[in-house]
Symmetry: C2
Subunit: 271 residues, 2 copies
Amino acid sequence: MLEFREFHKKGSGLFLRLKGVLYSGRSRYQTIEVLDTEDFGRLLALDGLVMTTEADEFYYHEMLVHPGAVLAPRLERVLIIGGGDGGTLREVARYPEPQHLVMVELDEAVVQAARRYLPTLASAFDDPRLDLQFLDGARFLETTRESFDLVLVDSPDPIGPAEVLFSEGFYARVREHLTETGILVAQTESPVYHRDLIENTARRLKALFATVLFYTAPVPTYPSGFWSFALATNLPREALRVRRPAPEGLRWFHTGMVPALFEAVPAFMKP
Amino acid sequence: MLEFREFHKKGSGLFLRLKGVLYSGRSRYQTIEVLDTEDFGRLLALDGLVMTTEADEFYYHEMLVHPGAVLAPRLERVLIIGGGDGGTLREVARYPEPQHLVMVELDEAVVQAARRYLPTLASAFDDPRLDLQFLDGARFLETTRESFDLVLVDSPDPIGPAEVLFSEGFYARVREHLTETGILVAQTESPVYHRDLIENTARRLKALFATVLFYTAPVPTYPSGFWSFALATNLPREALRVRRPAPEGLRWFHTGMVPALFEAVPAFMKP
């Protein structure tokens, strides 16, 4: 019986029995595996860590995208940093408003694997509004002159190449490329296991933005099963109100969760 | 290397490396084990399933007790059904108001194991306000003539002896033993893995109570890492407001989470 294991702490974690291995390779940046699990459909692992599974990806992708998307006063220009599996793009593409949708992913091989093995995630890569670039997200922000109404940072864990995506310098670059009413949303790891990272991120964002909010969602195959997101903007908090309904057919998020999401968090997530 | 595994679905779950086994026995009702884990301190398992660990029990016990406790207009008489490890009792005992605190636990052997091996959970068993009875919770409600301001149902999973604690008949009995402003709070399993149970519980409670609310919390060692609770009362929703602050020194809950907690849930948890 094949089994995938991910250690979430020194001596504990998740096990998943496998039906088989669909793909295993190494790109310039990382090992990429697509595994067929018994319980969660297909699983994408980068360097041995679960990035997403077919069965539970909707929690993460809906919650990364829709709170910011329903609150953003304008939604014409959207930037996704990371997100190579396509799930974040798929959720953004559900809205009619975006005219220009830029996705900057470091590793082209992840997108290729997703297109081939994860069609339910990769369903929006042919959207005509998409401008897909294979480039480091921080580097992209240094060179582009565009500004965005919504920037979504869909990064892996802050180790290795993605570490820069959690730095104050990176968030400052994002701010420079937000429109006046622009909103940044970034995944910020587990409130259970990575409280330090959330507190550090809160400090960095507070130094840069007028309004910084955190919120949470379940993601059963991520460490602790519970995840967090930061939303930052130069709008005052009072200006954040629902501007459009979320699309039909979502499985976890609904518009009525906003703004309660930002209040239903522990004290260390209210900077 | 000793390892504890709990299957949460057919082919997946949690593994925890162990430093050793502190206790293993069988009561009249179930097997009881206390294991020393590498990452979560001591773990109490009943019939092979994680009931609580020293490291993450605060999420569950704070969130079972404090939302109802801060909202209850009166808090003089409190009933705990189940909760043999003592964690729920410990959280209730932090409040000065309760004068009579009844705890009805089926299995005396669980309390004995907790008192011996889990002192940080079992710290309130000597509270002079406590009336501890070893009895089936449903049976207790059939015979007692007392009414309570807050009833907390801290049950194991709805299989075997605890199944009755999720039935409409049981909830109807609880209602009969609530004071006019009384509040019931019950754990209702994982919103990720046990959505049916939540929907069934919502239906049962709606048939009995004027106001039914659900809320969630992380519990990393429980299936999916994400848990739910139901709060039901015959008070109208508008009458539910914070009546007293939560005690100092909590690690997850704070009073500011109420009432956002009840709004920050998916549509199926808003009956």
